[in-house]
Amino acid sequence: MAAEKSFRNSSRARKVTLHNVILVAALFFIWEVTAKIIHSPFFPSFTEVVGATVRVMVVGDIEGYRLSDHAFASILRVLSGFGLACITGFPMGLLMGLKREIYDASKSIIEPVRFVPPIAWLPLAFLLLTGYLRYAMIIWLGAFFPILLNTIAGVRRTSITLINVAKVFGADKRSIMFKVVVPSALPETLAGMRIGLGVGWMCIVAAEMMGGDPVGLGRLITKYVELLRIDVSLAGILLIGLIGFLMNEAFMQIEKRLLKWRMEVKI
């Protein structure tokens, strides 16, 4: 039965992939044809964008940075800020989920701050911090709150019965925390992390556009828009979308693996 189900799932997955490939190919084709008809330097065709991508990949941009330099710079910045958000948001979420009074007492700080778009902190971050840290701070601000709030919600949802099971066996607070509360909150926490990663990826592009550092996908886009070279800018935009998509897919695979005990992994 299980084998049949996984077979059905994999054949369904193949079908979905096929549909998506067809749709993307159709989109690129329409783009190509439209660009050829319009024939404007501000509307590069798909093949021109692919050409620009290859050029930046192999030769580098006007300052000599290759596409991989830009991509890695952005990814590294996001992952460091995201990592910081995980190691701060998760324990704080556990604490605030278990001790409601701590959340209540700090609510008037958490709630308003979480509604400030991380980008709004950019000028301040650039004034106060240097290099890597300024980006990490922006990403941290974007990713921290989804992780914190989801973890709080997950902890609060922990079943009293399961906690009682542990108590009857004589479990101490530590065991209850790590053997019951943490695994029980994990689905929510992971969902919060995935959302946080997405927010972080969106923030990084904006931060790089304003940051002034010569590398980063955000910077690549502005660099070439200033030169009216839309083809390279579009190459950067496409790559941002592609990397965001791949990071999300990778995270979902991790989630699926960690949460294989769930009947359906709700994504």
Binding site: N164, K167, F169, W261
Partner: protein, 251 residues
């Protein structure tokens, strides 16, 4: 205290419990001796679950006392197995992971013991299944195995078969009795099912509707294994239902 009756495992003495103005239990008194299968039967809302939680040390009585083997019920120091009314398996642990839980918490992990109790409840072959992959009856068996794995001094069961269908419930009665015959664990089970009580119990305590008071304790003097259709069985059933009827008009 000690020496009066060394075979008394559970000594519930004038236990009362109220939440604010709501009186749940009044002066509940009974003793359960070693290896005894003691069943408390009572209508819904008579405080059965509260009583079990007090005995397990999960709640404290408003007045009165509970002694388990002469000690106050502190789960840190007492070895108690508890089978909860609701689904209580950890969904992120497999069957064997669940059974191992109590041993892990107590620092006694023993794979042999895990295997032994899984075998005892008939779940061999399902060790690596997650709770969502097995039936309700199998989840109950796993919960029983988990409670037995720590070799408890006392087994507490709170309406363990309440959410099972009639047929599975019947099978579980037989199996639970077989397990009890083999291990002779002192067992305290609460239920609202009269047949379940008579089939399993050495003695049945009838609890009244809220506030819960022990109305009568009836020793069940029937041969094992018991026949639910025998005349004496039905007489016991009539007797207990009569006692309950006074509490809940309209049964």
């Amino acid at each position: 205290m000690t020496g009066v009756n060394s075979s008394v495992i559970v000594d519930v003495n004038k236990v009362s419990k109220s939440y604010g103005n709501l009186e749940v239990l009044i002066d509940v008194t009974f003793k359960v001796s070693k290896t005894e299968f003691f069943v408390i039967v009572g209508p819904s809302g008579c405080g059965k679950t509260t009583l079990l939680k007090i005995i397990a040390g999960l709640e404290t009585p408003s007045s009165g006392s509970v002694l388990i083997n002469g000690n106050p019920p502190n789960p840190r120091f007492l070895n108690i197995g508890y089978v909860f009314q609701e689904d209580s398996l950890f969904p992120w642990r497999t069957v064997s992971g669940n059974v191992r839980f109590g041993l892990e918490v107590k620092g006694l992990t023993s794979e042999d013991k895990v295997k032994e109790v899984i075998d005892l409840v008939g779940l061999t072959g399902f060790e690596h299944y997650y709770p969502y992959q097995i039936s309700g009856g199998m989840r109950k068996r796993a919960a029983i195995a988990r409670a037995l794995a720590v070799d408890p001094l006392l087994l507490l069961m709170d309406e363990p078969f309440g959410d099972l269908d009639a047929q599975t419930r019947w099978i579980m009665h037989k199996e639970l009795w077989a397990i009890h015959e083999r291990l002779r664990k002192t067992t305290l089970l609460v239920t609202h099912n009269v047949e379940e009580a008579i089939y399993l119990a050495d003695r049945v305590a009838v609890l009244t509707k809220r506030p819960g008071i022990v109305k009568k304790i009836i020793p069940i003097e029937l041969e094992r294994p018991r026949n639910k259709l025998s005349r004496q069985f039905i007489e016991y059933r009539e007797l207990i239902i009569e006692l309950l009827r006074e509490e809940v008009p309209g049964i």
